[in-house]
Subunit: 345 residues, 2 copies
DNA sequence: GCTCCTTGTGTGACCGGTCACATTCATGCG
DNA sequence: CGCATGAATGTGACCGGTCACACAAGGAGC
């Protein structure tokens, strides 16, 4: 119990040592759980810690030991559902491990700006988790200096993750493949795709899963429509697609895009799902309550964030084994926005 | 230019000092912009810093100076639009001031858990920004030990903010008042309210603004319906309200709730806005693209986050004057979901 | 009985910065 | 010309921990 109410500078291990009648090193041993401390001594030290309200100074710990027990998440945005959920997952796992979580937003995708932000984040010590679903994130991942522990959360593994620079991912390719097959199975001649900004110049995982499903079914492969991240982009893309009466099924890179597409179809008088079927990606909470409710693919972003932290934790503490990547399988959720292709034509 | 490619331990000010032929203290003066350094000396030091790729060690800085140039945001959630936007605003302002941003989620509202989390966050040094829109956040704000710099982001100022524990807020009361008046002006006899979980046992600002508008208009004051944060809660509340044919106007504590209400009305066959008008709160990005698009009150969460950081920054660096709280005025956005009350009855 | 190892504890240096103070040198002024 | 003054720089201690090592006491092995 701490009786003195007034603010004093916080107690250090030497204060605790003096109170317990031992040396500061013994206190250090107690707080680090070192075995060779006599039980009676340990008791006395713990009592002193409690009485003085001692808390280990994180700055001193980081300086002296080199370990900072912190991770920084680098992301292009904190408000998109997927990103925010990954962050929440990271935080959850980090909290359980008594790690601090930092956040650093990549405002621009411009190379120099990204590099500067990565340096700043690396300065905080600890490890980095980079959300690399977009160009800014991909650039950040590439700009991480050698020697800095980092885990990437990527759309797809472009090359097998190496031990010191591991990745986690959901199988977006498979997910897009499943969603596309679902739409084709409803009798649609083909499926159009409204893409999120691709993370690289190369084809994204979602795009390639969609394309493969079309190919296997021998369906025509229309060009993907480039969208943005938000509903506005989906709306613009939707207006374009609505003009073409041959379009009867649209897969969208995320639920926000799908929302914009739904709106565009409504505005142009095309009924969903009677005339056009729409499917999204992510299963954000609102999607189930839209009218029509949205067929989509549920992804476990929170789990992804937890897995990313687990991996990084393994890298940071040689002791903890590097866990495998338990990425959950995406799940197709069929709702009202997808239905049988209109009969005849 | 740093020619040696292999990883070495990062350069310290003593390394820089040796390279520049000065003492470490002079290097410290240069990096801190101290005036009394001869320009020629400064040049040499800067050249050495550049060559060695010197970066100030944040842990050592924090330990020696006591200032950690960091803020931690305490919040109950990172995925809700308002919370995530506030975080984004804080990060933006912090980045501009070269501050690191930490994030700490209050998973439970249970008192001991909240207190532990607050202690952990305070350990990181720097200041705290507490998002106190909900019970967990309010508890956290109360649990912050004296002496720790903190700024609260609150729904409404329960008491005038004091200098060392300032608050920022948007005028939710006024916003709810305006939204309610809008609905009344359309001829609705009264307006029902679906509430977000209140931050305190006392009436929330939104609730009280709504109530005042009803009172001034001499309209009946129905009991608010208790919702949750997400669309599911809105849906449940909407089903309840839909049963009552006298209900023609519904104000919701946030856009997610409104979405759930819209869905419930759709399911029960009540047309919006012809039979029932609905208004939300926050103007989340999807709201403009719903069908019908949602009448709502736009709040500047990002600006709120920026203001919170500015305030905290002022507290942390005595030099920087504590800026006034430039909270922007909420703005009513009228869209399709609100319309004239149904004629007759 | 002596060495040797183990257990428990203490001492000094160190991490990379900052701070308070000392020192040097050039300049201004009576 | 001598001395106070201020600019430019250096020295040592310190922040609060950790680490490597020294050292005392007690038991095992010969």
């Amino acid at each position: 119990m701490n009786v003195t109410g007034h603010t004093r500078s916080p107690a250090s291990i030497r204060d605790v040592a003096a109170a317990a009648g031992v040396s500061y090193q013994t206190v250090s041993r107690v707080i680090n759980g070192h075995p060779s401390v006599r039980p009676a001594t340990r008791e006395r030290v713990l009592a002193a810690i409690d009485e003085l309200g001692f808390r280990r100074n994180t700055a001193a710990l980081a300086l002296a030991s080199g370990r900072s027990r912190a991770v920084t998440v680098l992301t292009a945005n904190t408000t998109h559902y997927g990103y925010a959920s990954i962050l929440q997952g990271v935080e959850e796992a980090a909290r359980a491990a008594s790690y601090a979580v930092g956040i650093s937003v990549l405002e621009s995708a411009e190379e120099a700006a990204v590099a500067a932000e990565v340096r700043r984040a690396a300065d905080a010590g600890g490890g980095l988790i980079v959300i690399a679903y977009d160009p800014a994130g991909v650039g950040a991942l590439a700009a991480v200096p050698a020697g800095v522990p980092v885990v990437g959360v990527v759309e797809t593994p472009a090359s097998p993750p190496s031990g010191d620079r591991p990745w986690v991912w959901t199988d977006d390719r498979e997910a897009a493949y499943e969603a596309t097959r679902h739409l084709l199975s409803l009798g649609h001649e083909t499926v159009h795709y409204v893409a999120i900004p691709s993370s690289t110049r190369r084809t994204s995982a979602r795009t390639s899963g969609w394309r493969q499903a079309l190919k296997e079914a021998g369906a025509p492969q229309p060009r993907p429509v480039q969208g943005s991240w938000g509903p506005a982009g989906g709306h613009a893309a939707g207006l374009k697609l609505a003009r073409d009466p041959a379009v009867t099924a649209i897969l969208c890179g995320n639920d926000d895009l799908a929302l914009g597409v739904l709106r565009a179809l409504h505005e142009t008088g095309r009924a969903v799902p009677d005339e056009v079927s729409v499917a999204g990606f992510d299963d954000a909470p609102p999607s189930a309550y839209l009218t029509p409710s949205l067929t989509t693919v549920r992804l476990d972003f929170t789990g992804l964030g937890r897995a990313a932290f687990a991996l990084l934790h393994g890298v940071l503490e040689e002791s903890a084994p590097v866990a495998p990547h338990p990425v959950s399988v995406p799940e197709l959720v069929v709702r009202e926005s997808s239905g049988r292709a209109p009969a005849g034509r």
